[in-house]
Each structure stands twice: as C-alpha cells, then as structure tokens.
C-alpha cells in the first residue's frame, strides 16, 4: 500500500515537472512575442510606399487628368503666362518687390543655375558635362521677350529643357522670371546706373 502511494506521488511529480517545463517555455515564448515589429511597420501606406494591390506597384494613385490641387486653385490667378487674346503677358501678376527678387534668386540658383549658370550665361555645370547649350539671357531675342515667355518656358519646358511645373510653384516661377530680368539688366549695366552716393562703395569692392 505504502509503496503504491509512493509510486503515485512519483508519477505526480513527473507530471508536475512536465507541466512546469511547458509553462516555462510558454513564458519564454511570451518574452519573445514582444519582438514583433507590428508597431514599427504598421499596416498603412506612407508616401511613395509600394503596394501589391495596384498593378503599377505603387500605393499612391496617379492624379486623374486635369486635377488641380486646392493650393494651386488658390493661386489660379497666377497660373498662365498668356493674356485672354493668346499673347504673352508683359507684367507679372504678382507685385515686384525686393523679397520677390531674392526669392527668385534663391529658386533660380536651385533649379536653373545647374544649366543656365548663376549669371544666366548658359554655361552651367550640366552644360559643361554635355547638355545642349541654352541661349544666354542676354541675347537680343530674350531681352525683348515678354516676361510671360520665361514663365511659359519654366511651366512647359522648351527645346531640350523639361517642364518645371511640378517642381516650381507658380509664384516662384514669376519670382524666377523677374530675377531673370534682373540678370539681363545686370549684364548691360554701367556705372551710370548706380546711384552717385553708392558708387564709391561699389568701386571699392572692385579691386
């Protein structure tokens, strides 16, 4: 009788031990369960992420033709370099301020100077690497062109130049066009264009 009871206890101990092993394993597994990356990589689409759902592999859908964003709708008045009669505008639809010119300078040096050069000579680094030489802004044809021409070229491209409408906002296109005018002026300026009280300062810089 005693022996039987003892055997029973041993069997119980063995079963207990087995349960303990399973519980411990489960606990350790539980620790590893925290290593899932579900919070890091959530089931949502971020800009430019890929998707197997659409045939082109992209999560973002291409805009339907002629879609206008809310932002550009508010700048509608700035869009378009032509007058209702089809001629190019001669005056930008934004006020010409010093800030606009500086903005134009900054944008010109980001998007245009790579080819047109910072002075507008058309001898930028990409041209030196083999891109077709664009005309210098100082050409008579471009000096006489209405300002709308530059806006139009930025928007739609010209010759080998791609359109920049997706990269440069309408307001910035006018700023660049205005700055191109400033570049044209700067290349034909003489000392007589400088106010008399500032000539000494300018001449001291040219040494």
């Amino acid at each position: 009788m005693m022996k039987d009871e003892c055997r029973m206890t041993n069997a119980m101990f063995a079963r207990l031990r087995r349960v303990r092993v399973i519980l411990h394993s489960a606990f350790i597994l539980l620790l590893f369960s925290a290593c899932r990356q579900g919070m890091y990589n959530q089931a949502k689409q971020k800009p430019l992420s890929q998707s197997d759902f659409f045939s082109d592999g992209a999560s973002a859908r291409p805009l339907p033709l002629h879609t206008i964003s809310r932002e550009s709708a508010s700048t509608d008045a700035l869009i378009g370099a032509t007058n209702p009669d089809g001629t190019l505008v001669t005056k930008p639809p934004v006020p010409l301020t010093k800030e606009l010119l500086y903005r134009g300078k900054e944008r010109f040096e980001i998007y245009c100077a790579v080819c047109h050069d910072r002075t507008g000579s058309g001898n930028g680094m990409i041209v030196q690497r083999g891109f077709p030489h664009p005309p210098a802004f100082t050409e008579t044809r471009l000096r006489n062109a209405p300002i709308g021409h530059f806006y139009d070229v930025i928007t739609n491209g010209y010759g080998a130049m791609y359109p920049y409408a997706a990269r440069v906002e309408p307001r910035d296109r006018w700023a660049i066009a205005a700055y191109i005018r400033a570049l044209q002026l700067s290349r034909s300026g003489t000392i007589n264009d400088v106010p008399t009280d500032q000539r000494a300062e300018l001449e001291s810089q040219v040494q």
């Binding site: 890091y40 800009p47 890929q50 083999g130 891109f131 080998a160």
Partner: protein, 218 residues
C-alpha cells in the same frame, strides 16, 4: 570521514561567483554594443540600389542643390524622392546610353517607378515632419550626415529616440542660420552655444514642448 571538498574548492567557488558577475556584465555590454553597432543601426552601411546613384557626384561634382530633387522638403512632411522625370531632365541628354542608367530609362518608358531601397526608415509610431525642421534652422547634414560625400547613400545617424532627444533637449547645439540649412559643409562654430541661444529666439523655437510625448508620438 574524509573531506568531501578539497582545499581548492573555496577558490573555485569565489572565482565562479566573480565569473558569473563578469558574465552578466559582458552580456549587458554585448547587448548595448550590439544595439548601437552599425549592424543594427545600419549607420555608415551603404545600401545597394537598382541604380548606383551617387550623391557625391551630383552634389559635390555637379553642384546640384538638395531641393532640385527633394522638392517637398521645405513644405511637406516627406522630403520626396524624385520622380523619374527629374532624373531624365538631364539624362535625356547626357549619359543617355549609359547601361548603368537603363533602369531609369525603363522606368520612364514603362511608366513604372524605380524601387529604391529605403535608407532612412523611422518606426511608424513616430510622427516626423521635414518642413518644420528645415524652416527652423535644422540642416540636412545634422541628421543625414555628409550626404555630399556619399558615393552610395548610407544612413548618417541611428534615428534612435535617444538620438532625437539629444537635440530636442538641447536644440541650441544644432540650430543654424536659415541660409546654412542646405550647406552640407556646415560645422558648429566655436560660439555655437551663444549663437544657438539667439537663433532659438529668432526662429521662435519654444523648447518647453519639444520633449512632450505628443510632439513625436501622435
């Protein structure tokens, strides 16, 4: 009755206690070193890409501004990876037959975007906005490293939360003049502490909420 343990047993017992402690210290150190190693963070590890695009060539040799391609960086949360048209602005004319650029031409021809391998990938529970950093005087190179020197692009910093907080707790050590944000050769001047404090005021950076949880986790 003979001794069960020899005289050496004491030494062995002491030694094993020390070794066990050392073992756990080493384990901790290994974990820490592993966590911050480039094996885990991917910092300084160039990624292979469908086209071996070199920022070094385009930025340093050609002098192209960051914003020429990453057009969204000043106005949007996402800096933007350029569409194939941006590549082809130049490469429709130069290196137009280079075999290296075939994936770019194929992308334009077939109207399928190039699948670049992502270099900087924040966890999805972090809200990050490029535009606010750029507008407030945090430069590209502070987070992305010397991209203008990278023949293949690699991650400049770990992007760990501790690293983010290093700046959010003391932005005066990193903030620049607006005109220097896109300057890849910027180094903190010797009087950065003083200048930084002035720039915080000039840029209206209010530091008391920079470490709120909801600033980045929303």
């Amino acid at each position: 009755m003979p001794q069960i343990f020899s005289r050496r047993a004491n030494t062995i017992a002491r030694l094993s206690i020390i070794l066990i402690v050392l073992f756990f210290i080493a384990l901790g150190w290994l974990g820490y070193a592993g966590f911050w190693s480039s094996y885990t963070t991917m910092v300084n590890v160039p990624l292979t890409q469908p086209v071996p695009f070199s920022h070094k060539h385009h930025v340093t040799d050609d002098g192209i501004d960051c914003r020429y391609c990453h057009t969204g960086v000043e106005n949007a949360r996402f800096a933007g990876v350029p569409p194939t048209e941006t590549c082809m602005t130049c490469h429709s004319q130069i290196f137009r037959d280079a075999p290296m650029l075939e994936p770019v031409r194929a992308s334009l021809r077939e109207n399928v975007p190039i699948r670049w391998n992502r270099v900087n990938d924040l966890p999805d529970f972090v809200y990050f906005d490029h535009s606010i950093h750029v507008q407030k005087g945090i430069g590209c190179s502070t987070c992305h490293g010397p991209v203008d020197q990278m023949p293949l692009t690699w991650k400049g910093e770990s992007l760990y939360m501790k690293w983010c907080l290093d700046c959010h707790r003391a932005p005066q050590n990193f903030v620049r003049e607006n005109s220097d944000v896109f300057n890849m050769r910027w180094h903190a001047p010797s009087d950065q502490k003083v200048r930084g404090a002035q720039l915080l005021i000039a840029h209206h950076i209010e530091t008391e909420h920079l470490t709120d949880c909801s600033t980045c986790h929303r």
